[in-house]
């Protein structure tokens, strides 16, 4: 990777939340500029997918992993690659196939004859951003090897653990499970992805634009990183410090409970899902230029974060419902709690 491409202030900007106003504002300002650059860059590569791009960045900043699901050829890999390249960091890509072994992902210990010892050779998972193409085409064993890395941020081979670098994000793409030669991800493993995004087909204008500009050269060739990995870490840190009022947390929990109790859902949101929902909401709030979360932030990421975790019961599924429609109906009824300081001086 091109390590000279650091045009910005390399100092990590950390907002501690309790620091003075100037620092907080400065960090917010940096965050705002950097996120703007990333989104601008992605938009030059992928036309008409600003929403998906923003969600992908949200997941990155919220320290989650992203599952891109759609039919082949709509730009899943392109989005993953572009997002990876906007940051000056290591990127590896794994093309999953049915015969891919776990060690092909995690790495393997090789006997070094010179030293007379086993030496660990890290696999493609040792990168800041790992693109796993068509993850549902790999065997369950290989899938779970990757998923352990995702959860633990470390690789364990032969009893030795190797910590992965920061930031670490897996962007996996998969084809819809009905397609031939796929091993669908079990729900336990789907749960480890913070969000699932369906790309969808571009609209007519965006598609024409794509045909014109992408005819001769790959737009990816022009993509140069716009932020350093340190900056990315600082941005992640900023997101961590975004404030969520008790009322917002109550809202998240109420949403989770509503999914668990909903009559059309067989499986609702897990506590982990809610944890990730709040993190994603924080990232979304930060991307909106705020240092506090609104219920609107929660609602805006709820579809992407919870959609792939909810399982419909048979009746609802056969009635043509989808998890996203159920989620919408829940959000339309869920009362919005007020903020935290409601009873101090008011009636």
């Amino acid at each position: 990777m091109d390590s000279d491409h650091r045009t910005m202030d390399p100092e990590p900007v950390v907002s501690t939340g309790t620091g003075d106003t100037a620092t907080g504002d400065e960090a917010a300002e940096h965050f705002h500029r950097a996120s703007g650059r990333i989104l601008d860059l992605i938009s030059t590569v992928i036309d008409g997918k600003a929403e998906a791009a923003r969600l992908a960045l949200t997941v990155l900043l919220a320290e989650g992993h992203l599952l891109l699901e759609d039919v082949p050829g709509v730009g899943k890999t392109m989005l993953a690659k572009t997002l990876a390249r906007t940051i000056d960091c290591s990127v590896n890509r794994i093309q999953f196939t049915p015969d891919l072994l776990p060690t092909d992902v995690t790495g393997v210990s090789i006997f070094n004859q010179a030293s007379g010892q086993f030496e660990f050779r890290g696999g493609p998972v040792f990168a800041n951003i790992v693109i796993g193409d068509e993850i549902n085409r790999a065997s369950a064993k290989t899938q779970s090897a990757l998923l352990e890395c995702m959860e633990e941020h470390q690789v364990t081979v032969d009893g030795n653990s190797y910590i992965l670098g920061e930031p670490f994000m897996v962007v996996a793409t998969q084809n819809p499970i009905e397609m031939e030669g796929t091993y669908p991800l079990p729900e336990a493993q789907r749960d480890r992805f913070m969000a699932r995004i369906s790309m969808g087909y571009p609209d007519t204008e965006a598609e024409i634009e794509m045909l014109q500009t992408h005819q001769s050269v790959s737009p990816l060739d022009d993509v140069k990183p716009v932020i350093s990995s340190e900056e990315a870490v600082a941005m992640i840190d900023f997101v961590r410090n975004v404030y969520a009022a008790p009322a917002v947390k109550e809202y998240v929990v109420a949403l989770g409970q509503a999914t668990r109790e909903h009559h059309q859902l067989r499986l609702g949101a897990s506590p982990r899902a809610l944890l990730q929902l709040l993190r994603a909401a924080k990232a979304s709030a930060a991307l909106s230029g705020r240092d506090f979360v609104l219920p609107d932030d929660v609602a805006s990421v709820a579809g992407a974060v919870l959609g792939h975790r909810l399982i419909l019961d048979r009746k609802a599924a056969s009635a043509g419902e989808s998890p996203s429609t159920v989620l919408e109906s829940i959000l339309a009824k869920l009362p919005v709690a007020p903020g935290g300081r409601r009873n101090e001086q008011h009636r």
């Binding site: 106003t21 907080g24 009022a245 609104l294 609107d296 009362p335 919005v336 709690a337 409601r342 001086q345």
Partner: protein, 798 residues
């Protein structure tokens, strides 16, 4: 409703907003208190012109002007002297008491204006007198000290209320409610009394008040002197409410029975009976809910008229019961002797047992002429001249059952004709009194009717026949609609011209015409025989008694003429009412044309009663649009009406006033407490939206709510930006990082994020735009019945 006028204190000294007493607070108040008081005075006085419809003449005006001016001058002075706001109404009240004492009871006070115990006594007497006037007279009433006093009190209190609303609370538009209260009084007492002129005067007064208030309170802030849109809005709303109130309210109040304009019915509250039954008689007749008043059983084979009182005192304006309190003999034991003195001819004795049940009156209904009465509780007195029995010490007929033995003179045409020859004796006075000026029409009519007749009985018969002729139409409502309800001399003339009226008119006309011909006359008021129930009761002596039921429809007035040697003789000039006595029937008259008085067959009497009931209905003017009305026994009480109305108005205005109070409190909070401003502002926006039926849904985030408001009409206006600013401030406050409490001025921890400033102007902008983009119905509802009061801020549960 929209923005309120900024408080004078804030406007004059912004520094005072911190609660600190800065020197700027001491800047001169200026002349505005005097101006506003003058404007209020003008508005009240102008509105009071409408009272001319119910008060006779303008004699009351100077006193009213004086007392209102005294109150307003004191409140204005108090403001100039910076008396605390709550003390100003107290000062005004004190001024009112002093002014009234000076006006009405200077002799019974200390120093001419300080009330003493004597003043209170005098006041009680004056109020009693006012009540008497109200009970005894039909509007417009004669002005007396009592009436003027009540009027002064009412108008001055209204002035004080408006003063508080306008100058202290700075809500000048609401003062229309006070003016409305003044307008409603004459509108209710007499429908046609508030004419176009009254309305115009009231509106002019209101506009003067609004204009002055606007000019005074906004001269620092508003570049032009014109009325602001919001103020005009409110003025229109209240104006409409006033119009609706004065036109519609009378229909909704019990006692007003029919039509778009109540037909002169008068409101009566409670069941206490008036001293002058004549006044309420019309009401009783028009009352569609003919409640059973009394039942009686009688041994008489003549129909029994239950006579309560006779009216012989006629001053040209009203017929009144006798005023000879001193000549009344206390107790009813000597009744027999007095009756004997009066009855000179042969009599028939009959016994009547009367159950007065819920009929309450100080006058005892009894068949004429009572000889003895038994079973009566309480203290009663008898007038030896008229044999009317009056309760003493507040004794009434309520729930009494008593037995009257009465002696009915046996009269025939012959005896009457003979009696006419006997010259009048000393009894004649005051039964012959007529005002010095008798309208020409009455004199001409009498002369025409009695032309060539010398016998007094025949004269009486001629008058009765004339009134019972086909030219005359019985109608309970025509006189009211025609504006000649009552029994004064002018009204009698008018009745003879219109030839339509009911028993009050017929009997008054006959009494007046008889007096004009030199026959002593009086009007008896009581009940026509009523309806036989078909039941009979045996007395202890084995005599059969027939039972009758008397209800309010049987209320009746009939003339009694005096013939020497025979005493008082009852006539029946009212067509289709009562029973014409045998002697008073024209010889040619078919016996079928009236119920046979000698036959007490219940069926026949029932038929007669039916005819009585049908007669008014045959008249196309009656019975139309009759609506439920209360049974009214008693005289109306003006004071009670006014108080009830004031309370009702206040209650009706409570939602509006409460909402305005909330708005003002929040705006003050926004100006003075920046840390609470965002939430207060947001609550106000929520409430305003609720008022305009745009309530925030429970599942709606503030942002989504703001977006919806923007889409419904704020878009593209300055209000959209204002709304956005308020939203950001609210989100910051509600969901932002909590700010550590500051420990002191310098060392305190800085804020996580500086709070966004909130401007009351933004709230007002959003409110105004919401109001502007709503329909007038929504605006009206939002003003009068703000929905936000019923749906309290949904987030207060925490």
């Amino acid at each position: 409703m929209t923005a309120t006028i900024p408080r004078a204190a804030d406007r004059q000294s912004p520094a005072a907003a911190d609660g600190t007493d800065t020197p700027s607070r001491r800047q001169p108040v200026g002349n505005w208190p005097w101006l506003i008081s003058a404007a209020i005075g003008a508005a009240v006085i102008f509105t009071s012109f409408s009272l001319n419809g119910v008060l006779f003449g303008w004699g009351w005006l100077p006193q009213v002007v004086f007392s209102v001016a005294a109150v307003l001058a004191v409140t204005a002075g108090a403001r100039v002297l910076r008396v605390p706001a709550w003390l100003i109404p107290v000062a005004g009240l004190a001024a009112l008491i002093a002014a009234l004492t000076l006006l009405f009871f200077p002799g019974e006070s200390f120093g001419g204006f300080i009330p003493t115990a004597e003043t209170v006594d005098a006041l009680r007497i004056a109020l009693l007198e006012a009540n008497q006037v109200v009970v005894n007279q039909v509007a417009p009433v004669q002005i007396t000290d009592g009436i003027v006093l009540v009027t002064c009190v009412g108008l001055s209190l209204v002035a004080l209320l408006i003063d508080t609303l306008t100058a202290t609370l700075q809500m000048p538009a609401t003062s229309g409610l006070g003016l409305l209260a003044v307008l409603v009084v004459p509108a209710i007492v007499k429908s046609t009394s508030v004419g176009a002129a009254g309305y115009t005067a009231a509106i002019v007064g209101y506009l003067i008040l609004l204009g002055s208030a606007h000019w005074i309170f906004s001269r620092d802030t508003a570049p032009s002197g014109g009325l602001s849109a919001s103020l005009l809005d409110r003025a229109l709303v209240i104006g409409a409410a006033a119009l609706a109130g004065t036109l519609v309210l009378p229909l909704a109040v019990p006692g007003f029975t029919s039509g778009l304009f109540p037909e002169g019915s008068r409101l009566s509250l409670g069941t206490s009976s008036g001293l002058n039954p004549m006044v309420t008689l019309g009401n009783d007749l028009r009352n569609p809910g003919s409640a059973t008043r009394m039942t009686y059983t009688t041994t008489s084979d003549e129909p029994v008229y239950l006579r309560a009182v006779t009216l012989e005192h006629f001053d040209g304006t009203t017929w009144a019961p006798d005023q000879r309190q001193d000549r009344r003999s206390t107790g009813i034991d000597s009744l027999g002797e007095e009756t004997d003195e009066l009855l000179e001819g042969p009599t028939e004795i009959s016994t009547t047992r009367i159950n007065a049940s819920n009929f309450s009156s100080p006058w005892l209904p009894a068949p004429y002429a009572p000889v003895s009465i038994s079973g009566l509780d309480g203290q009663w007195s008898v007038d030896p001249l008229t044999l009317s029995i009056l309760g003493l010490d507040e004794s009434t007929t309520a729930n009494q059952t008593y037995t009257v033995t009465s002696a009915t003179p046996v009269l025939t045409r012959q005896t009457l004709a003979e009696a006419s020859a006997i010259p009048r004796d000393s009894l004649s006075e005051p039964f012959l009194d007529l005002p010095s000026e008798v309208p020409g029409l009455i004199e001409e009519t009498v002369a025409d009717v009695t032309e060539g007749i010398t016998n007094r009985y025949r004269k009486a018969m001629a008058i009765q026949d004339y009134l019972r002729s086909e030219d005359f139409v019985y109608s309970e409502t025509a006189p009211v609609r025609g504006g000649y309800d009552g029994s004064s001399m002018d009204i009698v003339a008018r009745f003879l011209e219109e030839k339509s009226g009911y028993c009050v008119h017929y009997s008054a006309a006959m009494a007046v015409m008889a007096r004009a011909e030199g026959i002593p006359s009086r009007i008896a008021v009581g009940y026509a025989p009523g309806t036989a129930t078909g039941e009979t009761v045996m007395t202890e002596d084995g005599v059969e008694m027939t039972e009758f039921e008397v209800d309010s429809d049987d209320a009746h007035a009939w003339p009694e003429l005096y013939f020497s040697g025979l005493g008082w003789v009852k006539f029946e000039p009212t067509p289709s009412r009562g029973v014409v006595p045998e002697y008073a029937r024209a010889p040619s008259q078919s016996p079928d044309s009236a119920a046979n008085p000698n036959n007490l067959n219940p069926d026949e009497l029932q038929n007669a009663a039916d005819e009585e009931e049908q007669a008014p209905q045959d008249d196309p003017t009656t019975g139309a649009g009759a609506s439920g009305a209360a049974d009214d026994d008693g005289g109306p009480s003006w004071i009670a009406v006014t108080v009830t109305l004031a309370v009702a108005l206040l209650l009706a205005a409570m939602p509006y006033l409460t909402r305005q109070w909330i708005i003002r409190r929040r705006l003050r909070l926004i100006r003075k407490h920046p840390d609470q401003a965002a939430i207060a502002a947001w609550r106000e926006i929520n409430d305003t939206a609720t008022d305009y039926r745009l309530r925030a849904r429970q599942s709606e985030t503030p942002r989504a709510f703001a977006e919806r408001l923007r889409d419904t009409g704020l878009d593209g206006t300055g209000a959209a930006d204002a709304m956005h600013r308020l939203l950001l401030a609210y989100e910051q406050t509600e969901y932002g990082r909590p700010r550590p409490r500051q420990t002191d001025g310098q060392g305190g921890t800085a804020l996580a994020t500086a709070p966004r400033s909130v401007h009351a102007g933004d709230v007002a902008t959003v409110q105004e735009t919401l109001s502007r983009t709503s329909t007038w119905q929504q605006r009206l509802m939002a003003s009068l019945l703000p929905a936000s009061l019923w749906r309290p801020w949904r987030r207060t549960s925490g």
